[in-house]
């Protein structure tokens, strides 16, 4: 076996240019398959780690996936707000332990602004029941004195270089060029949260009252002409929120979740809906799964093409190697050894390609990971390959073995027919 390996390696080294090209193409398809699997798994993990300990998310009637996406991940927009009375009515339900209202819509340099109650910081959990923690500073109290206090996520602080005491202005809506700023009411950074690897990192948190205050002199999504309420004056107005975007609900007993969900859906005064975060996420994966399957099929086809290349190159080489194989037969190699030799050669090329692809995946997750995390909030895991990835690697190598069977079989037949009398 060892001699066989040596012969295969030396013979292959003679044709290294073409074989290296094939190994390179197998490497690229490995990179595609492995990279796709890693990104897919990490996106799912990032999403499923983003909320914990919340039993229901309540919002205006829309799709369950959509409600989940904008209330937790701040992706997409709300179809409608819900009235604060409805939120209070849900709070009164005997199965409900706590309710945290969320109000979205403004932004700061592209980072979403979330208005909520101070209770958010104690109730909201991520990962497996992990609580939010401060890296520095303090939380906002939701009192009038600290009306313009803000607590920012780790990514906001890092990306914009903010420290405690920094004054910032929020933009109305998504912001950007031509956007309108809430420049008359600047906020002060009083706290910076620890990194969580969830959308919280990319969020600017303010109190619900502050959200009301910065929109006091606004109507229909634009500042009212001629009306301007100074920041300090705003405290004299009624700042109790009238409506919010969504609410997180925690229950006393989880088995009551369906009853409360039904209570919310049947709430007579307003069209509301409640979703279980876990169920909504699984619905999302059902939708995304179709696209994932298509992408996986494409990547698999690319791999098939690479292996077709492998077969073609080795097959084409067989004609040139009649002498080489004949010499091997002359020194006593049986047709079986010839078959094995070709099999080893193909497998070696495939294995080299897989190693190259895996290294490429590792290097790019390591190199691009931080950039992807800051732009998309997805944590790419640069750790050891998962079980699914090992399985993919095994499948690719197995495909290489099967592919090299074809030229190996042909060499076996040839060496039987004309092994010792090549027509030159």
């Amino acid at each position: 076996m060892r001699t066989l390996l040596t012969i295969a390696w030396r013979s292959g080294w003679n044709r290294r240019a073409t074989l290296a090209l094939v190994a390179f193409s197998i490497g690229l398809s490995t990179f595609l398959l492995l990279g796709f699997e890693r990104v897919r798994a990490d996106i799912r993990e990032s999403f499923s780690q983003s909320v914990s300990g919340t039993d229901l998310i309540v919002g205006a009637r829309t799709g369950g996936v959509q409600l989940m996406l904008y209330s937790i991940f701040h992706l997409g927009g709300a179809t409608n707000n819900i009235r604060m009375d409805s939120v209070r009515a849900i709070e009164q339900n005997r199965n409900v332990a706590w309710v945290v209202p969320l109000s979205l819509g403004d932004s700061h340099h592209g980072f979403p602004v979330l208005a909520t109650t101070p209770e958010f910081f104690t109730r909201f959990q991520y990962g497996y029941r992990q609580r939010l923690a401060l890296a520095s500073g303090r939380l906002f109290h939701g009192s009038l004195d600290g009306l313009y206090d803000t607590v920012i996520g780790a990514e906001v602080a890092d990306a914009l270089g903010y420290r405690l005491g920094q004054h910032i202005t929020l933009s109305h809506g998504a912001g950007g060029p031509g956007g309108i700023e809430h420049a008359d009411k600047p906020f002060t950074v009083v706290g910076i949260l620890q990194r969580t690897g969830t959308p919280v990192d990319r969020t600017v948190h303010i109190s619900l009252e502050a959200m009301e205050a910065i929109h006091l002199d606004w109507a229909g999504g634009a500042p009212m002409p001629g009306v301007s309420i100074p920041a300090a004056m705003a405290r004299k107005f009624d700042l109790a929120p009238k409506q919010v975007t969504a609410a997180l609900v925690g229950l006393k007993s989880r088995a009551a979740v369906f009853g409360v969900q039904r209570f919310v859906a049947d709430y007579p005064q307003e069209a509301l809906m409640a979703v279980l975060p876990g169920v909504a996420l699984d619905q999302l994966w059902d939708v995304v799964g179709v696209g994932e399957k298509a992408l996986l099929a494409l990547s698999a086809l690319v791999a098939v093409v690479s292996f077709a290349g492998l077969i073609a190159v080795i097959l084409a080489g067989l004609n040139e190697r009649r002498r080489e194989l004949a010499v091997l037969r002359a020194v006593g190699a049986g047709p079986r050894q010839v078959l094995l030799l070709l099999l080893v050669e193909g497998t070696l090329v495939a294995a080299l390609g897989v190693v190259f692809g895996a290294v490429l995946v590792a290097v790019s997750t390591f190199g691009l990971g931080p950039w992807i995390q800051s732009h998309y909030g997805i944590v790419l895991d640069a750790s050891a390959p998962s079980a699914a990835e090992w399985q993919l690697v095994a499948e690719i190598v197995a495909a290489g073995v099967i592919a090299s069977l074809i030229p190996a079989w042909r060499a076996y037949r040839l060496s039987l027919v004309d092994g010792l009398s090549p027509k030159v």
Binding site: Y128, A255, L276, V279, D282, A308
Partner: protein, 203 residues
């Protein structure tokens, strides 16, 4: 084209495409009917369940409890869905179901049963907690099951790859937990010792 490509590669591509297109259709068992659980050869049942007693969903309700309480006498079939009287009946049934008592005799019982997964708590290592319910779409399309037909299952070893509405066998010790509020309702909780996929009653 190389004949080998035609002979091997193209059929392989065909098989891959066919496999993707022909993903198997699922049949959704209804675990409220006993057959999905009990259609087991007795020998298999004992071998598979060991110390855990095979338990039907209707056993979770106390023997005296009626799932459709007072309105048997009224002629429900004549009522339209949108009829306010039907709505009122539904609301009555709903509150009766939400307060459905648990079977106290099952407190501490080691049971084995099958049902649908409604995921609750996901961790990095996998699913940690879910609700087990007896029929598909519970909570989405049809009225949610009564309180005594829901088991709050926590898993000591997190399980990967379980999605909403997957069917599983669950083994563990049941606990009847009294909820604190006035309705007097009690609910089932379970610490699962083992969870395996449900592959039909002949498991």
């Amino acid at each position: 084209m190389n004949p080998l490509v035609i002979r091997f590669v193209l059929p392989a591509v065909g098989v891959v495409v066919a496999l993707i297109v022909l993903t198997p259709m699922h049949v959704r068992p209804d675990f409220t009917t006993d057959k999905s659980i009990t259609q087991l050869a007795p020998a298999v049942a004992t071998a598979a369940s060991g110390a855990y007693r095979l338990t039907l969903w209707r056993e979770l309700a106390p023997p005296a409890w009626k799932s459709t309480p007072p309105f048997r006498s009224e002629d429900v079939s004549k009522l339209d869905d949108a009829d306010p009287r039907a709505q009122a009946l539904l609301a009555r049934m709903r509150s009766a179901w939400d307060a459905a008592p648990a079977n106290a005799a099952l407190n501490g019982a080691a049971i084995r049963t099958a049902g649908y997964v409604v995921p609750i708590e996901e961790s990095r290592e996998g699913l940690r907690e879910f609700l087990l319910v007896p029929y598909y779409g519970a909570c989405i399309h049809i009225p949610p099951p009564p309180a005594n037909q829901i088991i709050d299952v926590s898993i000591s070893r997190p399980v990967k790859g379980l999605d909403a509405m997957d069917t599983v066998w669950v083994e563990g010790v049941l606990k009847v937990a009294r909820t604190t509020h006035d309705s007097g309702a009690s609910t089932y909780a379970m610490r699962a010792d083992d969870i395996e996929p449900y592959n039909g009653p002949s498991h």
